[in-house]
């Protein structure tokens, strides 16, 4: 049985080595390292692909590589297409009896390469039904190219292409709900996870890689550079994102949604507490913009209530 015990995991060989060039406090390598450790256990091997992005750039500048599992990178938009090809080849070799290994295929992408330019390729791979897991590390903007807005950037966040000043207040549009889009493909397993709930994250990775067919996992990945937050606060911010319900953690298994963690009344916090922790939202606290905080809170409440309704509905059926 695969383990999610942190002590046991810490004794396993690292599959994403140290020495890569990610910034201090980056959530990306934590997401990848934990996912690889969770997936490559017992008799399973992992093969990965990655979209262009921070994690690709910091881990795989030729001839160096931080990956101790097979890793393919080609272009920005095609992580899902690349893993589709690898998985199809594996299925063929397996049918021909030329390969016996039990291989798990994982595609990684940031939010730019997943929510935006890679969405077409991801949708195609989900629809074709390849046996793979796609993990999106969502740091809510194009950080690799210097903080430009993406479909994942939340409303009100400052980026270099969604400016805040006399006129602008950061991004004017709301965040795209990619987890729901993936779920709408009718795939067997979809989950939204948080790095501060380590065991939950590892379990969901294991559930995904051991489910036949396409699976999708969305993980919020703090970016101190882009969020203008402290590197040492990465995990605290993940917790705050969940307790403010900015980033609900839930899974949809064979169409049935269940919320993995509901903050108690004591733990639940207003979105203001989340916004205060990051420089990218600083301008929202000016008198001109303060009404937006209410709007953001309303959006969060609406989305949360939708999740609760959906969960109740799925439990009845």
């Amino acid at each position: 049985m695969p383990t999610t015990n942190l002590k046991e995991l810490s004794e396993m060989p690292e599959l994403l080595s140290g020495g890569h060039a990610a910034c201090p406090g980056c959530g990306g390598p934590i997401a990848i390292r934990q996912a690889l450790l969770a997936a490559q256990q017992d008799d399973s091997y992992v093969v990965t692909s990655s979209a262009t992005g921070c994690m690709e750039v910091v881990t795989s500048i030729y001839p160096n590589s931080a990956w101790r599992v097979p890793f393919v990178h080609s272009a920005f938009e095609n992580s899902a297409s690349t893993i589709s090809g690898a998985e199809a080849a594996y299925q063929s070799l397996k049918r021909q009896g030329k390969i016996k290994k039990n291989i798990k295929f994982i595609a990684f992408g940031g939010d730019g390469g997943t929510y935006d330019i890679g969405l077409q390729a991801l949708s195609g791979a989900l629809e074709r039904g390849h046996d793979f897991t796609y993990i999106c590390y969502d740091n809510e903007a194009y950080m690799n190219t210097g903080i430009q807005r993406s479909g994942a950037t939340p409303m009100g966040a400052f980026t270099n292409t969604a400016q805040a000043g006399k006129v602008g207040y950061g991004k004017t549009q709301t965040k795209k709900d990619l987890t729901a889009i993936c779920a709408a493909h009718g795939i067997p397993y979809v989950a939204q996870v948080s790095l501060h709930r380590s065991r939950d994250y590892l379990k969901k990775i294991q559930k995904a890689v051991n489910t036949e067919g396409p699976c999708f996992i969305n993980v919020l990945s703090p970016c101190p550079r882009g969020w203008r937050c402290k590197p040492e606060d990465t995990i605290r911010l993940c917790e705050l994102a969940v307790n403010t319900r900015v980033w609900p953690v839930y899974e949809i298994e064979n169409g049935r949604l269940s919320i993995s963690y509901k903050p108690s009344e004591k733990k639940q916090k207003p979105v203001r507490d989340w916004l205060e922790t990051q420089g990218r939202f600083k301008h929202l606290f000016s008198p001109k913009n303060e009404h937006l905080i209410e709007k953001i809170q309303e959006d969060i409440d609406t989305r949360w209530n939708d999740l609760l309704r959906r969960e109740a509905c799925d439990q009845q059926n």
Binding site: T52, A75, I117, G146, Q148, R149, N160, T161, Q163, V167
Partner: protein, 360 residues
């Protein structure tokens, strides 16, 4: 900023963005890619304040096709990217050319092929000057060598695009795009106004306009292509631009474009002592149309030509076609990113053109 009459310290990317706004660009669609991010950030900051629309698209394909739509409506429009992103835009550029619409495309080149690198390169010469997408079309191509020229040529590109109803590419590179220099925008106050009777502005009170690049009838498509080619011939006659350095009738001619030409200009002011005979530089400013006749005249009495390019040798083909075997044409390729250093070019010059080259 609009009131400032002096020089402003800007990167080439920002200079191009500012010039575009001054040229009356009302719609810009972009997508992040290094080394042109300063341009998209500047547009995001400034364009909405100055009566324009900025969109960060979800991909390069989306961005170029948004520009296609904006161009059809008759507004001045632009997109920018760097080499891999420009490759993704090629389908849209072909459609814009096929629909005879004006648009400006800035390519801040980086090394290739594939993902390549993010260093400066000139590997997109073929892609830009032939036709990067499908079909018999051309784009006018301007090659700036300084941050100031990125501004000047972007401003000019809008006029050329409107005049000839075609996509115009400003072919820059990482060095020119990211280097900061003092920029003067004094001559960019009044953009020319072009009448655009073909634009889709709402057909109330007039015959409807149709913008398309679709001709199922073979004869119709052939005639359309002939019309395009006639336009391109006229451009070849009228729009060749170039500059020379080192005086007339040089014995040895160096040919280079863009940032690479800047290094060579330096050498021409202080040629290697061992070189017996005058050294000149010919710098094409329009890469398409290529100023071939001008080069042939300039090099008429030359004994040898050296082409220096930040690629494996692309423009050299046009140089060879131009001199047509009359003069030996040598190539100093520099693929893979980065500018060739002056000392290496000097060494190459003496080894090629001195009977008794100095031992290094």
């Amino acid at each position: 900023m609009t009131e400032n009459k002096g020089k402003i310290l800007f990167s080439g990317n920002e200079a191009a963005a500012e010039a575009a706004i001054r040229a009356g660009c009302k719609f810009y669609a972009g997508y992040p890619i290094t080394p042109q991010n300063e341009l998209i950030a500047y547009m995001a900051d400034q364009l909405p304040l100055r009566d324009g629309v900025f969109v960060q698209a979800e991909s390069e394909l989306a961005a170029i096709n948004m520009v296609f739509g904006a161009a059809a409506s008759g507004v001045r429009t632009m997109t920018s990217s760097s080499s891999p992103g420009i490759s993704l835009k090629q389908e849209g550029i072909s459609y814009i050319a096929g629909s005879e619409l004006p648009a400006v495309i800035i390519n801040v080149q980086r090394g290739g092929p594939g993902l390549g690198g993010i260093g400066s390169a000139q590997g997109d010469y073929f892609q830009s000057t032939r036709s990067g997408g499908h079909g018999d079309y051309r784009c006018m191509v301007l090659a700036p060598a300084t941050a100031q020229e990125m501004a000047d040529m972007t401003f000019l590109a809008f006029d050329l695009a409107d005049m000839y109803r075609m996509p115009v590419i400003v072919l820059s590179d990482a060095v020119t795009g990211q280097m900061m220099e003092g920029i003067c925008f004094d001559d960019m106050e009044e953009p020319k106004k072009w009448s655009k009777p073909w634009a889709l502005t709402g057909a109330t009170g007039r015959e409807r306009n149709i913008v398309h690049s679709f001709h199922l009838d073979q004869e119709e498509l052939e005639n359309f292509n002939k019309k395009l080619q006639a336009k391109y011939e006229a451009i070849k006659q009228k729009e060749c631009r170039f500059e020379t350095a080192g005086g007339d009738a040089p014995e040895y001619v160096m040919v280079a474009f863009g940032s690479c030409a800047r290094t060579l200009k330096q050498i021409v002011t202080d040629p290697p002592e061992e070189l017996k005979g005058k050294l000149g530089l010919f710098r094409p400013i329009t890469l398409w149309p290529f100023p071939g006749e001008a080069l042939a005249q300039y090099a008429a009495s030359a004994k040898g030509v050296l082409t220096v390019e930040m690629n494996a040798g692309q423009m050299v083909e046009d140089v060879r076609l131009t001199v047509n075997g009359k003069i030996p044409v040598h190539l100093m390729p520099h693929p893979g990113g980065g500018i060739p250093v002056e000392a290496r070019i000097r060494k190459k010059l003496t080894s090629l053109f001195c009977d008794d080259p100095p031992k290094q």
